[in-house]
Structures are given as C-alpha cells and as structure tokens.
C-alpha cells in the first residue's frame, strides 16, 4: 500500500499536530475508513521500525564519536609525554656532557704525567751529604773543613773556591777530585763535574771510586749522555758495596734514562 496520499495527515495525527476537533474527526474516520485504518497501521509499523533504526544508529554514532575522542585523547597524551620527555632527555644529555667534560678536566689535571728530564733528575738524584766537621777535621785541612761547611750550607761557589785552594799535599787526590766534582754537580755545572768524577771513579784503590761512579752517572744523565749514564748506573746497581746501589736500581727501574721521542 502506498502511504503517500495519507502521509501528511497520518504524520500530523501521530505527532500531535492536530487540534482537538481535528483529532476527534480523524479518529472517527479511522474507525469508519478501512483504507485509512490500514494506512495508519502500516504507518505505525514503519515508524516503529524507524524508531529501532534511529536507536541503533544513535548508539552506533555515539560509540563512533566516543572512539574518535578517545583516540584523540590518547594521541594528545602520547604527544604530551613525548614533549615532556624530550627536554628531560636534552637536560640529561647536557648534564652527562658537563659531567664528562669536568671528569676529563679533573683527570687531565690529576693524572700522573711523565716527568720532564729536569724533574726526573731532581727527583732521583741523591746528593753527597759532604764530610761532617769531625770527618773533615781528621784531614787537618782547614780549607777542606771550610769547603765542606760551605757545601753543606749550600754555598757552592764558596765551597769550590776553598776546594781549589786545598794543597794536594795535604789531601789525597781522589778526595779533591771527588768533592770538586760533587760540588760542581750541585752547582749545576754537570759538564765540568764529569771530568772530575770520571777521574775519581777511575782510581782503582780509592774508597770514593764507587760513589764517584754514581755521581758521574748522574752528571752524564744531566748532560744528556744517557747510554753512558745507564752503563755506569748498572755498574753501581750491581755493586753491593756501593752505598748508592739502591738509588741506582731505583733510577734504572723507573726507566727514565730511555731516550724520549
């Protein structure tokens, strides 16, 4: 049945758009007019189905819109987490970088660095203490006594001056050679000291020969004669009678006499 001829009237009746009189009249016609009554029944079924469809579609639309909103919220949250995490990561990296630079600086500052040649020599050289007054007086040479006093006091030029005036007749050669060499070495004249010390170390019967060899080696080291210095120190290190044996071994162990790049 085609409802279109009745649709307007049925709709106004169903939607409560008729006046009271119109409604009464329509209800009367419904009771008498079979075609109108059938149309009304069909219209009611059609709108009942439409109500079902509308409920179905309303829920479907609401769920779909909610789904979209939840997706957007989750995306916004994820974005926010990314945005808040990014500065944290940046600051973390910056802090790590600063800590690294500080650690590097501290390490460079505090790391054990190789000694310069001068530092190494000063560190390892064990100076001759010089004769004590008592020992010097045994020589009965006032100039030697004075030279030793000046040496012990660190007045090396004065000590040299006195030593050079000591008569060879009163003090043995090896003693004069040895102490002159030692004082020159302390006075930073290693080149000159070498000559005296070489001669002192070559005195086969001298008790000072062993000690002279140590100071000679140190004078050679000081003047850059490293192979010779090493040879002499090896001899000192191998001599259990030499009072400088341990000091010589220490220098050799430290490998400071190897040529530098």
């Amino acid at each position: 049945m085609d409802l279109r001829p009745y649709l307007d009237e049925l709709e106004r009746f169903a939607d409560g758009q008729l006046s009271e009189a119109e409604q009464e009249a329509f209800e009367l016609r419904l009771a008498q007019d079979e075609k109108l009554s059938a149309a009304y029944e069909e219209y009611e079924q059609f709108t009942a189905d439409l109500r079902w469809v509308a409920g179905h579609e309303t829920l479907r639309h609401r769920l779909r819109n909610l789904d979209k909103r939840l997706d957007e919220r989750q995306a916004a949250l994820a974005n926010m987490q990314t945005r808040t995490a990014a500065p944290r990561i940046r600051w973390g990296l910056l802090a790590a970088g600063v800590a690294f630079i500080l650690s590097l600086g501290l390490w460079l500052l505090l790391r054990p660095h190789p000694l310069s040649a001068d530092e190494a020599w000063t560190r390892y050289y064990v100076p001759e203490p010089g004769l004590t007054d008592v020992a010097a007086q045994a020589t009965k040479s006032p100039l030697l006594i004075d030279a030793m006093r000046q040496y012990r006091a660190g007045h090396y030029p004065a000590a040299l001056h006195s030593l050079r005036r000591v008569s060879a007749a009163t003090v043995a050669d090896d003693t004069l050679l040895y102490y002159t060499g030692v004082v020159l070495l302390r006075h930073a004249e290693a080149g000159a000291a070498r000559n005296y010390l070489t001669r002192a170390s070559e005195q086969p019967t001298s008790a000072l020969a062993g000690k002279a060899r140590y100071h000679l080696a140190m004078a050679q080291w000081r003047t850059g004669q490293l192979p010779q210095a090493r040879t002499n120190l090896q001899a000192v290190a191998a001599d259990p009678q030499n009072p400088y044996q341990l000091h010589a071994q220490q220098v050799l162990r430290a490998k400071v006499l190897l040529p530098r790049d």
Binding site: E11, Q17, F46, L50, R51, A54, G55, R60, R62, L63
Partner: protein, 164 residues
C-alpha cells in the same frame, strides 16, 4: 551517577544508552588486548568489534529478546566476540521483522547526514520540534517540523522504490 546494575536493562529499554557508552569507554583498551591475544585483531578492528557487540546487545534489550541481565556482563559481552557476526541476534526475531528492520537500516544510511540526525533526534531521542530546531540550527519549530516531515517522506520514498 552510576546506574545500579539491576536498573540497566530498564534504562536501556527506554533508550538510555549511557551504560553502554561508559562500558565502551572503560573496556575499550582491555577488550583490544583481549582480542589481540585471542583473535589476533589489531586495535582499530577490536574497537569496531566491541562497538558492534554493544549495538547488538542494545538491540537484544530493546527488542525484548534479552530479559535478564547476564550475571557476568563483561564475560557475556566479550563472549559475543566469538559469535559475531554469525549470531547477529536479529535471527532470533521473527524473520520478516528482522528482514524489514535490516532493510530499513540500509535505506536510512542512504539519507543525508542531516536527515539521519533529524530522524534520530525525533524518533529516538524524542525531541519536540522546538528542541529539534535548536539542536539542528533551524530557524524555529515549524522549520523543524517541515524538515522532519521531508526527511520521513524521503525515507518512505526510498522504501517504496526498493519494493518496486
């Protein structure tokens, strides 16, 4: 305010869909994880499946096919995931009625979005013409009435054409 569970069916029958909307919001992610493990569905497909289940559940309640709330509603709804779409419960309706409704649903989808909205507001939400006009941005209640009438006529004409 949350509805007591016992009132849920009553509310659904009179068109209050809030319970299902809240259920979807609360269980969407959980259901997606459940179906990922069970059916290897991706998130979007799982969300769509849950929406279909909730619409189907609503239909069962609205049609009067479901008269008692299952003791474990979550298990019941999740269980429907194993049955859809085979058990689209309209099969439990008289075949003619189910066919008629599905047919009308298809025709409804051919209307413009505005027409669909007008008919949903009027026939499901029960808005009067004044409120309908306000919601749709029409000038007044009369325009609302005329628009609704025009949309209903368009749907009926689609129905007539489909029967030819």
């Amino acid at each position: 305010m949350p509805q007591p569970l016992a009132d849920t069916l009553t509310h659904l029958r009179v068109g209050n869909q809030t319970f299902l909307i809240n259920f979807y919001q609360d269980h969407r992610d959980d259901f997606a994880e459940w179906t990922r493990q069970r059916h290897q569905l991706d998130r979007a497909a799982a969300h769509e499946l849950l929406r279909s289940i909730l619409v189907e559940f609503y239909n069962q309640v609205a049609d009067g096919r479901l008269t008692k709330l299952p003791p474990d509603l979550r298990a019941h709804l999740y269980g429907m995931a194993d049955q859809l779409p085979q058990a689209a419960a309209t099969t439990a309706l008289p075949a003619a009625e189910a066919r008629r409704r599905r047919h009308l649903l298809g025709l409804f989808g051919q209307l413009s979005p505005d027409c669909q909205q007008v008919l949903m507001f009027f026939y499901f939400r029960g808005y009067n013409f004044k409120k309908l006009a306000g919601k749709m941005g029409f000038a007044n209640a009369t325009v609302g009435r005329l628009q609704k009438s025009s949309c209903l006529r368009r749907l009926y004409e689609l129905h007539l054409r489909s029967e030819e």
